[in-house]
């Protein structure tokens, strides 16, 4: 189930967005999160909307996957919408029910904030839907490289991330195996009061941790035997290539920023 959550995110396809360098996509998401706050009127929200829509079309991701990303936060969006509709008192009164006045400003504000949420989620989903976890790791390592000067263990962090990604399915498989073994010995994982169910996790976690530590030790020995001695003097097999499309993405984002600054009130 976990596997679906993490690996099911990436949707393989042949699209300009898939082919882009993970660095440009990461930068794009970072900047987008910042400039989304520049928008404050209909025109600026439309500009951001067009930008998001163009990226979605370029990514060739079926709408179903984007909808799945939105689903968990759907209630949060609705909640903020209603909060603003009922409690922001600005502009003319549009309607009043049971003593509650609904103001024009409240509706506007509510819609804008919900749109802001939706844009943010769509853009971040686009990153994870079009980029493999390992490319995201590589991209982050490259982007964080300057921070090495500040003694930040960038290489180690990236290696930790990629080893974790590699071992998730292995550990999931093992969890499944231990669960079955314990169930065969009479442990009940799926029924009874919450307290008992939490207790029944203990005989699952203990063997899982023991074996994870054993794996870690063996992996460390294997890595050392294969000549691993830290990030110094290491080369990278996977090379990131910054192409024209990547520059285009950043330039178009800058253009959107300029438009936002011009049209905001």
């Amino acid at each position: 189930m976990m596997e679906k959550m993490i690996f099911g995110r990436y949707v393989p396809a042949e699209s300009p967005l898939h082919r882009m360098d993970p660095r440009s996509k990461l930068l794009m998401v970072f900047f987008f999160v910042c400039i989304v706050f520049l928008a404050n009127n209909t025109m600026t929200y439309v500009i951001l909307g067009i930008f998001t829509l163009v990226l979605i079309i370029l990514s060739k991701i079926p709408f179903r996957f984007l909808y799945n990303g939105l689903k968990p936060v759907f209630w949060l969006i609705l909640f903020t919408l209603f909060l603003h509709v009922f409690f922001t008192k600005e502009g003319e009164v549009l309607y009043s029910i049971a003593g509650l006045d609904i103001y024009e400003g409240g509706v506007r504000q509510g819609l804008f904030i919900s749109l802001r949420f939706t844009y943010l989620i769509l853009i971040t989903s686009l990153l994870t839907l079009t980029t493999t976890p390992i490319s995201i790791t590589d991209g982050m390592e490259q982007l964080l490289n300057p921070f090495k000067k500040l003694k930040m263990p960038v290489h180690e962090l990236a290696l930790m991330m990629s080893i974790s990604l590699r071992f998730i399915p292995t550990i999931m498989e093992e969890t499944d195996k231990i669960m079955k073994a314990q169930a065969a010995r009479g442990v009940d994982f799926s029924s009874g009061p919450i307290k008992d169910r939490i207790k029944s996790i203990v005989p699952l976690l203990v063997p899982l941790f023991v074996s994870a530590f054993k794996r870690a030790e063996e992996l460390a020995i294997a890595m050392e035997a294969r000549g691993y001695r830290g990030g110094e003097g290491r080369t990278k097999y996977r090379r990131l290539r910054w192409q024209t499309v990547d520059s285009l993405l950043i330039v178009s984002l800058l253009a959107v920023t300029v438009l936002l600054v011009i049209f905001r009130t």
């Binding site: 080893i163 590699r166 992996l219 020995i221 294969r226 097999y237």
Partner: protein, 279 residues
């Protein structure tokens, strides 16, 4: 003339807090291009030998010379470039997220240029017949396939020696056959010297030479043919002799006249067929 590649001279090693030496005054040599099997029951010191050869542990006494270099704290990284190791658990030595990343791991460590890396990864995977699986993730591979990828990871570094530390003991019979077949082919192409550490005597029977370890010392050193003559002695050391030899022995005891010792099932079958046609 046989060229000496590895030399162990009076090597002693003891784990902290243990009374007996895990490896006790062991001396032997390994020649270029041979397949040496080191056998022994649990705790005989055979796995410790593997760790010593690769500098994962250092001997308390004696010295180890690999390819003319004496193994020490300074030379250990150079020695590791000459010796590749394949461990027991296929999962716990797979570092990369995909097959090609894993093979490249050792090359990345050695600081090889990416263009050369690509070439070497491809060639190494072709050698072990895993080049169809370049982008496969480890959890979609069988144990035997994972071990072959581990061998490819060793090959890519172009070492002189490969050490198989119980590399087939966690595999099913088919996976074991795949891995041993791969190793045999590599040895025949004269690329590698093989040191296989195992308690599987069927596997050891395929080697050129065998060393039997017992309680940290070299008990016997000879060809599989010579070693299997020991029969009872081997059994008393906690080792089981291969089925074909056991069968030949009881046939002989029951008055069937078969010659010499047959090491593998194939040899025994051939011998019996010949005998049958003579009768």
């Amino acid at each position: 003339m046989r060229e000496q590649l590895v030399l162990l001279d009076n090597v002693v090693f003891k784990y902290d807090g243990q009374e007996h030496n895990a490896v006790d005054h062991v001396s032997f040599d390994v020649f270029k291009g041979e397949w040496l099997a080191i056998v022994g029951h649990n705790g005989s010191g055979k796995s410790t030998l593997a760790k010593l050869l690769n500098g994962l542990q250092f001997p308390l006494e004696g010295k180890i010379i690999v390819n003319g270099m004496e193994l020490s704290e300074e030379s250990v990284w150079d020695v590791r470039k000459r010796i590749g190791m394949v461990f027991q658990n296929p999962d716990n030595q797979f570092v990369g997220t995909t097959v090609q990343d894993d093979v490249a791991f050792g090359l990345e460590n050695a600081g090889i240029e990416p263009e050369i890396m690509r070439e070497r990864v491809k060639n190494a995977l072709k050698r072990v017949k895993m080049d169809q699986f370049l982008n496969q993730e480890p959890h979609h591979l069988s144990g035997g396939q994972k071990q072959r990828v581990a061998i490819a990871g060793v090959l890519a570094l172009q070492p002189d020696i490969i050490i198989l530390d119980e590399a087939t003991s966690m595999l099913d019979p088919r996976g074991r056959e795949e891995v041993l077949e791969t190793v045999r082919e590599l040895k025949e192409e004269n690329v590698l010297t093989v040191i296989s550490i195992t308690h599987d005597l069927e596997e050891a029977a395929k080697a050129d030479r065998m060393i039997v370890m017992n309680q940290g010392t070299v008990y016997r050193n000879g060809t599989p043919r010579e070693i299997f003559q020991l029969e009872e002695e081997l059994i008393s050391l906690g080792l089981d002799i291969p089925f074909s030899i056991k069968l030949a022995k009881s046939l002989r005891e029951n008055g069937v006249e078969i010659e010499d010792r047959q090491l593998t099932d194939g040899e025994l079958v051939k011998e019996l067929c010949e005998l049958n046609s003579r009768m």
